[in-house]
Amino acid sequence: MERFGKRGGSVVAAGLAAMLVVAGCSGESLESGNTDSNGNAQVTLKVNFWGDMGLDKLKADYEKANPNVKIVLNSGEFNAQHEDLQKKLVAGNGAPDISAVDEGFIVQFRSQADKFVNLNDKGAGSYESKYLPWKWKNSQSPDGKQIGLGTDVGGLAMCYRSDLFKAAGLPTERDEVSALWPTWDKFIETGKTYVKNSKKKFVDSGTNLFNPVNAQQPVGFYDEQDKLVMEGGPKVAFDVSMKAIEAGLSANLQSFQPNWDQGFKKDQFAVLACPAWMLGHIQKTAPDQAGKWDIATIPGGAGNWGGSWWTIPSQGKNVDEAYKFVEWMIQPAQQIEVFKTVGNLPSQPALYKDPAVLDFKKEFMSNAPTGQIFATTAENLKPQYLGRKNGPTRVAVENVITRVQQGKLSTSAAWAEAVKEAEKAATS
């Protein structure tokens, strides 16, 4: 309900825009006039990202080594940064020189590859062999343009509450727990035992089973011709989540909602499919559960959730300087530096042998060797083609699972509904 807000907002926006234009122009004209002692023109690179990507020290180091480059770090809210990038791409100007893009948005931007610098033209092709194959592939357009160089991956493991496991008479050591669930069927069996003994729910929600299982399949929602194939991988994943819901394992909570955060504190679930970056969220949400969490491997052996790329919108004035900075950021030394500062796991498998990753232990998670665990799950994941409509299709199927959990749809009727909704999303 914006009544006067809209018009007031646009007036304010006009004023702001005018100010920015003035400021922007004067800034640029000043800088372009300046040259350093080597005769190199001064350039300013604006880098957009979200949260903390461990760039503060990198910025200082790079600026010291390259006095003609000034780097402006602009951290914002996750969804807002991606939407802002999309709008600036449509508008044709205003985009940052370098922008981080997350896994959930990479398909959307990959299909607009003409709006980004094709990094292969800048010689990025030589890095292909250094990356996890699926990481390299996901940021590539269908006609082979590379729009981004990978920074981190999430990996995917199974976080569990060792104290709740103990109370339910289950093993608590991480190796023994991993041995409980080599497959998803075994995982559901374990869940049934837990629910029977503890009278509590086992997993947070059916959607957090569907997504990792679907990502483990050789073919996900779409085949390489971009045709929806629900009867393959998605069916397998959907059945796992339905079985879990039927067995009463799910606490029916939606990730990143207040209810979910409450669920941590009220012991509403005992396991959580967790990527590397989730550990920070658990620690922040339930700080008093230090030492009560531990990490086992995920059933099926491989997985990933999240992770990002550095992209360079082609509308930028300094794409060459921007590429130089991106290329520098993805070098091993810098990637290890980022891992040490904020814990983001690199996407180049050679770095998983680095002592900094190999020996890293997370105190909050009962000193689990998180570097090793997440690296293994990321390394074992097979590349899967993500279709053009992957995002909307996933949301549509997740909504069907939520409807089952809300008791609005029976598990038997759910699959037909999921297919229908997915087809609608595919043609939207």
């Binding site: 449509v90 909602q257 409450q262 009220k266 949301v395 069907v400 809300q406």
Partner: protein
């Protein structure tokens, strides 16, 4: 505005025109002409320039985009589409669902909102202790940023441990199965309408109050002498006499209600999907437009929806204004 409307006063005019023949073409005359003929336009120009840039241009551009194919995820699909986007709209279940949701939430919010605002204004119009405190107090929800208040309401209406369910459990409702506010149409509509009402009741009450204060007291005295109680005075004196303000608030809340976006968006469990609940239970048209444009990346179709919404608002606001005009002994004007 007074600058434009006020004609040059009679006293000034001859005094200034008299020296003119002596000094033909003098700068004074030129300035005077400029001042009276052009200055008013110059002074109102900023508004119209801003309106053209931020109001008119988007509306026209939106209309052009609505007639085109424009997909961000597939740059090869481009060119004129004619009325294809609009004909697709008529057969789109999502659009009709969103339309029903929007009207449902609009009725649940506007009607109680304006009625309660009227009652509150009527109370505030009496002699109370600490009048200013009460008057500022009812405006506080309006001052609260909608994002902040909606986030609080999103927690308020959670299934497990939400305050709404706690209050209901005190009277024995949902003690076994707490209400999942987001799961059903009726419960999610009530939740969203509550947020809207909370924010706008005080604002409307103050508008009514300011109108009420211009009603002469002797009208009420005469009515009281004739034996009209407070209820009858409210409906037969107050409402007809503040009717222009009532029409104004009805039109404004129609526009606001049909453009409802922030509340359902922040209430959504999966805001990244913008689907308005697991089955579109509370997806409003504005939210659907956002989803089609920025999630499905189909800008042409989203533009067609925006135009359809624009037309719907025009029609509904017009009908409401007409109905309110007839209400309460209107129609004399």
């Amino acid at each position: 505005m007074s600058l434009i409307e006020r004609p040059p006063s009679r006293a000034d005019t001859p005094a200034q025109q008299r020296p003119a023949p002596k000094d033909p073409g003098g700068w004074r005359l030129g300035f005077y002409r400029f001042d009276t003929k052009l200055m008013p336009y110059l002074l109102v120009a900023p508004f119209f320039i801003l309106f053209a840039v931020f109001g008119l241009f988007p509306i026209i551009f939106n209309g052009v985009v609505a007639l085109r194919n424009w997909r961000l995820d597939d740059p090869t699909q481009t060119g004129w589409a004619g009325f294809e986007n609009f004909s697709k709209l008529l057969g789109d279940d999502d659009f009709w669902n969103a339309l029903i949701n929007t009207f449902g939430i609009f009725i649940l919010s506007s009607v109680p909102q304006l009625l309660l605002a009227l009652m509150i204004a009527n109370l505030l119009n009496r002699k109370l202790r600490a009048t200013t405190w009460w008057r500022v107090g009812v405006l506080l929800p309006y001052v609260t940023p909608v994002a902040a208040s909606t986030l609080v309401f999103a927690v308020f209406f959670t299934r497990d441990g939400g305050m709404a369910n706690w209050v209901l459990s005190l009277v024995g409702i949902g003690t076994e199965n707490p209400i999942d506010w987001r799961a059903d149409k009726w419960s999610s509509w009530i939740a969203i309408a509550t947020m809207v009402n909370w924010k706008w009741i005080g604002y409307n009450a103050l508008l009514y109050l300011s109108a009420m204060q211009s009603i002469p007291k002797d009208v009420y005295e005469a009515a009281a002498v004739d034996g009209a109680g407070p209820w009858r005075q409210l409906w037969q004196i107050t409402v007809p006499m503040i009717q222009p303000v009532v029409v104004f608030t009805v039109i404004l809340s129609t526009i606001g209600g049909l453009q409802l976006f922030n509340e359902p968006m922040l209430f959504d469990e999966n805001p990244a999907g913008a689907s308005g609940g697991s089955n579109g239970q509370y997806q409003t048209i504005a939210q659907l437009i956002y989803k089609v444009g920025w999630k499905d990346l189909n800008l042409g179709y989203a533009a067609a929806m925006s135009w359809a919404l624009f037309l719907i608002i025009l029609v509904v606001a017009g009908l409401n204004a007409l109905a309110t005009n007839r209400l309460g002994g209107g129609g004399k004007r």
